[in-house]
Amino acid sequence: MSTSSSPSPDPGWYEIRLQGQLDSSWAEWFDGLTLTADSDGTTTLTGPVADQAALHGLMRRVGDLGVPLISVNPLRRRHS
């Protein structure tokens, strides 16, 4: 019930594509996901997302910024 309990041992990895380019300074704001600006004018966020609640939180941040969302894909787990 508390924050001291260990984080989810196996967070899922996600790839979130956004319309428009955001520079890497937004990485912290997106909970430390990696931001990659792609040549087609889109941005890809990649990284571990603790659980569904965290994923929905991320979606809300995307929505708050008014950034058009293109896709959300779960990735096969990678161990970093």
Binding site: M1, S2, T3, S4, L18, G20, G66
Partner: protein, 906 residues
């Protein structure tokens, strides 16, 4: 510290300076209002000018119609607590119309529907049309708040128009509302600036003098997104090379806000930039708070210049003391702060928390302390406001905070530790409770041993009450597990520990003691305990629980044959409920149902029916969930008394569906009531199946919990004997009844004993020994007379009528026997007639409004005065009066009042 209501959340935002008027959209909003659609939904991402549009429309609507009043509520995440949400909703409506909102404050906190109903009635009675705006609704996720709003939409009077402003579609049945034609909707596509609007903004408002081509380029690049155009305009204002800016911006792929926020920040001087970044952690800004975060004075001047330059600050009050950043701008600033100075973030939150605590705004102090991960500070502030949180019943807020605090922080604070145990009870995790309570005790004991403070909870009332709370929670766990001895032991210990002035503590402890006695069949002790509960509740001013416990008390008085005591308890409670005014408190309908059963026992069927009708008129909201099935039980008994067993069985089936297992022992199972009806109708096979299913035999060990079922079994065995072609022995029934009587007598359950005695006399009669049957019958009559039992005898039908005549012949006379004989004579004739009369002329329930009128009719007020009180014309009042007279079948005001009083309606 108290939990203040923040005026900034209720502030209606003024019209923005340099805002482009949007007549096209304002007209659509007007149209939605005038066509009577109840809900306007403005759903679009941040930066589309939603709030500004609503401000513009509201100002215009109030110019057009002076009867329009506006309530505004800017939501934040902490409003996901239903109690808090409703408090603010009431305050917002109160600001709109000072006649509204006070009644909501009088409701028992935590009861959503009664509070909403009170608000709805107040709006209906008011003279204004109210536009209620809920801004930033996307932050609301709590399902019970969503349900409350659906209820509001379904029941709101036409005088209320609700506006929901949200960045995402709310969790409301939007599609259904849309299809039902009650919804006016504006979305991003409607809100974005057209080229004409973009030109008006850039050139007329901002005075940039751009060419059509430049405006087009900017409009295309931002896709009409207003925040983007505003940022672009700000970037261009001080710039000489406007063309270069437009080229750079339109040529870039970077996201609009990212590109422009950087541009705007770069154009600020160093100290303003530092101010913006440091204060970005705040939800609300005020000068002295900003100074605290920047470490230097001058916040007031900077806020003023940001406001003047339209730099994404929005005033939150008339005096321009509080501001907030536009959400998007705040997001952009926070992202930059996290990039450039991540180390500063916890420090800034810490400073904000300290400032808020110093300024008696504890909720914000907790929020920032949690954001700073300064859990000790958060825990300390939470502990200091626990009494006021509990008083305002913001349980959801407390539970959320407790869940965010690490275990080791709570471990050092026994006061929070007890609430952590409470949170486990709330969550139904009973196994977690005891270890948590034990940890609290250890922390308390450690202090006592060496004299030094090993824990951090401050001395005070909360700390003093801990030993009591610990034992009460232990009793609660034992009770939930059906451990009667454990419940009693912990409740007694809690009671021994309470101080004389801790009324609620005493009530809680006595309540569990009473429940344990009840479960063990010691109803005398149960009644004593609940009398004490009621005294405590009265001294603590807790009327809601005082009314609810009256029903428990009566449940324990009736088996003891103390009908008059139960009756007067109900009467006092109904009186108290009436004194609470409108709307009636939650248990009022349950009290009417309870007292109806006493009238039924005395065979006063009209009075019983009147109280059931009063309960029905009050509706479900004047009843608690646990008691909702009882009105069907009472109605079933009434139908049975009227000679309609089939209707009674149907009602019992409904009651069974509604039955909820609560805290209270199930001493009169509905299945057994059904079995009794079957037996009296000769449907013995079904009753036997019930007895088999329950595993009941005449040789069972007896307990109070199964007394009702065992008496039912005795009835079944007697019925089987009487109905059989070759009757067997009645020895097993005789034995069972003898043992039941001994147990009931020993525990002082005189009411049960009277019923058993009647059955004994019937068994003798069935054995052909009528004379022997008169002895138990005589005792039953002696016990029944002072309390006025009639139905208990009457329901036995012909065999008992024979016995009573025999009793009269052998010299057992007295008023009661005569009364019973008369009732028997009337029974056959009247039951059928009454049923027929009832179906011809159902008592039509009075509406809430009509009840209100009735109550005013009982006063000294004249007709026009009543109309004034209700904000209606005299003609409308006349219509109400006509309906009331028709429903009550009277034709004068005094007669209506007399009849309403007789029916217990007023």
């Amino acid at each position: 510290m108290a939990m203040p209501v923040l005026g900034t959340k209720l502030f209606v935002p003024p019209l923005r300076k340099r805002a482009v008027p949007r007549p096209r959209l304002v007209e659509r909003l007007h149209e939605g209002l005038s066509s009577g659609r109840r809900l306007t939904l403005i759903s679009a991402p941040a930066g589309f000018g939603k709030t500004a549009l609503v401000s513009e429309w509201i100002a215009d609507a109030q110019r057009r119609n002076s009867r329009i009043r506006v309530g505004w509520l800017s939501l934040d995440e902490s409003d996901n607590d239903p109690a808090r949400f409703l408090t603010y909703l009431g305050h917002a409506l109160h600001r709109a119309d000072p006649g509204i909102g006070r009644e909501a404050a009088n409701q028992p906190a935590g009861s959503l529907i009664p509070t909403l109903t009170a608000l709805i009635n107040a709006i209906a009675a008011g003279e204004f049309d109210i536009i209620l705006v809920l801004d930033d609704f996307q932050l609301i996720e709590d399902p019970s708040i969503r349900d409350a709003l659906v209820f509001l939409l379904e029941h709101a009077p036409s005088a209320l128009h609700l506006v929901i402003v949200s960045r995402s579609d709310p969790l409301l049945p939007v599609a259904r509302l849309r299809a039902g034609g009650v919804l006016t909707e504006l979305r991003a596509a409607d809100l974005r600036f057209s080229t004409v609007e973009a030109a008006a903004f850039l050139n007329e408002m901002m005075g940039l003098g751009l060419s059509t081509a430049d405006v087009d380029a900017l409009e295309t690049r931002t896709e009409g997104w207003i925040a983007g155009l505003q940022l672009a305009a700000l970037s261009m204002q001080e710039r000489t090379d406007v063309a270069g800016f437009i080229q750079g911006f339109t040529g870039s792929n970077r996201f609009v806000i990212d590109y422009l926020a950087e541009e705007v920040l770069q154009s600020q001087n160093e100290s303003t930039r530092d101010f913006l970044l440091r204060t970005a952690v705040l939800e609300r800004l005020t000068a002295s708070l900003c100074d605290e975060l920047t470490g230097q004075p001058g916040g007031a001047a900077i806020l003023e210049s940001l406001d003047r330059d339209n730099l994404f600050v929005i005033p939150l009050d008339d005096g321009r003391r509080w501001y907030r950043y536009h959400h998007l701008f705040a997001d952009a600033l926070r992202a930059r702060l996290l990039r450039d100075r991540p180390d500063l973030v916890p420090q800034l939150h810490g400073l904000a928390s300290a400032w808020y605590e110093e300024h008696d705004l504890p909720e914000e102090a907790v929020t920032h302390a949690l954001a700073a991960a300064d859990f000790d500070r958060a825990a300390r502030v939470i502990e200091s406001i626990i009494p006021s949180i509990r008083r305002s019943r913001q349980d959801a807020t407390l539970l959320r905070w407790l869940a965010l605090l690490p275990e080791h922080v709570i471990d050092r604070r026994p006061v929070l530790g007890v609430y952590r145990a409470w949170s486990s009870i709330v969550a139904g995790d009973l196994a977690a409770v005891e270890p948590r309570l034990h940890a609290v005790e250890m922390a308390l004991a450690a202090t006592a041993a060496d004299g030094a403070n090993t824990h951090l909870s401050l001395p005070g009332e909360e700390l003093q009450k801990l030993p009591v709370s610990i034992e009460v929670y232990r009793a609660a766990v034992a009770q939930s597990r059906g451990d009667v001895a454990g419940t009693r032991q912990h409740a007694q210990r809690a009671l021994d520990l309470t101080r004389p002035d801790d009324h609620l503590g005493r009530s809680a402890a006595a309540g569990f003691l009473g429940l344990a006695s009840w479960a063990a069949g010691d109803l005398k002790a149960g009644v004593r305990a609940f009398r004490e509960v009621q005294t405590g509740l009265r001294l603590a001013g807790n009327t809601a629980d005082l009314l609810a416990t009256t029903i428990v008390l009566a449940d324990m008085l009736i088996p003891q044959g103390r009908l008059w005591e139960a009756q007067s308890a109900f009467e006092r409670a109904l009186q108290l409920a009436a004194e609470q005014g409108d709307p009636p408190p939650q248990s009022t309908a349950d009290l009417h149902v309870g007292i109806s059963e006493l009238f039924l026992q005395r065979n006063d069927l009209p009075a019983a029916a009147a109280h059931l009708a009063a309960a029905e008129a009050l509706g479900g909201r004047a009843s608690t969930h646990e008691n909702r099935h009882r009105s069907y039980l009472a109605l079933a008994r009434l139908r049975e008394a009227e000679g309609q067993p089939e209707a009674a069985l149907d009602l019992l089936a409904t009651a069974e569906r509604l039955y909820l297992r609560g805290f209270f022992p199930e001493v009169r199972p509905i299945a057994a009531m059904k079995a009794r009806l079957w037996i009296s109708q000769g449907r013995l096979a079904e009753a036997e199946a019930w007895a088999d299913e329950q595993g009941l035999t005449a040789a069972d060990d007896l307990s109070y919990r199964r007394e009702f079922e065992h008496i039912t079994l005795a009835r079944l065995l007697l019925g089987t004997h009487t109905g059989a072609r070759q009757p067997g022995s009645l020895d097993d029934v005789t034995g069972l009844l003898e043992r039941l009587l001994t147990a009931a007598d020993a525990a002082g359950r005189t009411g049960s004993a009277t019923e058993i005695l009647i059955l004994q006399s019937l068994v003798h009669a069935a054995n052909g020994r009528t004379a022997q049957g008169l002895a138990p019958l005589n005792r039953a009559l002696r016990q029944a007379e002072p309390e006025g039992y009639i139905r208990l005898f009457l329901d036995e039908g012909a065999p008992l009528a024979v016995l009573l005549r025999a009793a009269a012949e052998t010299g057992v006379v007295g008023d009661h026997v005569r009364r019973l004989n008369r009732a028997f004579r009337q029974a056959d004739g009247t039951a059928g007639a009454m049923a027929a009369a009832r179906s011809d002329r159902p008592l039509t329930a009075l509406s809430e409004r009509e009840l209100h009128v009735l109550r005013l009719m009982a006063t000294e007020l004249s007709g026009p005065q009543i109309a004034g009180e209700l904000y209606v014309t005299v003609n409308t009042l006349r219509t109400h009066t006509k309906h009331i007279f028709a429903k009550l079948e009277v034709n004068s005001r005094p007669a209506a009042v007399r009849r309403a009083e007789a029916l217990g309606l007023i």
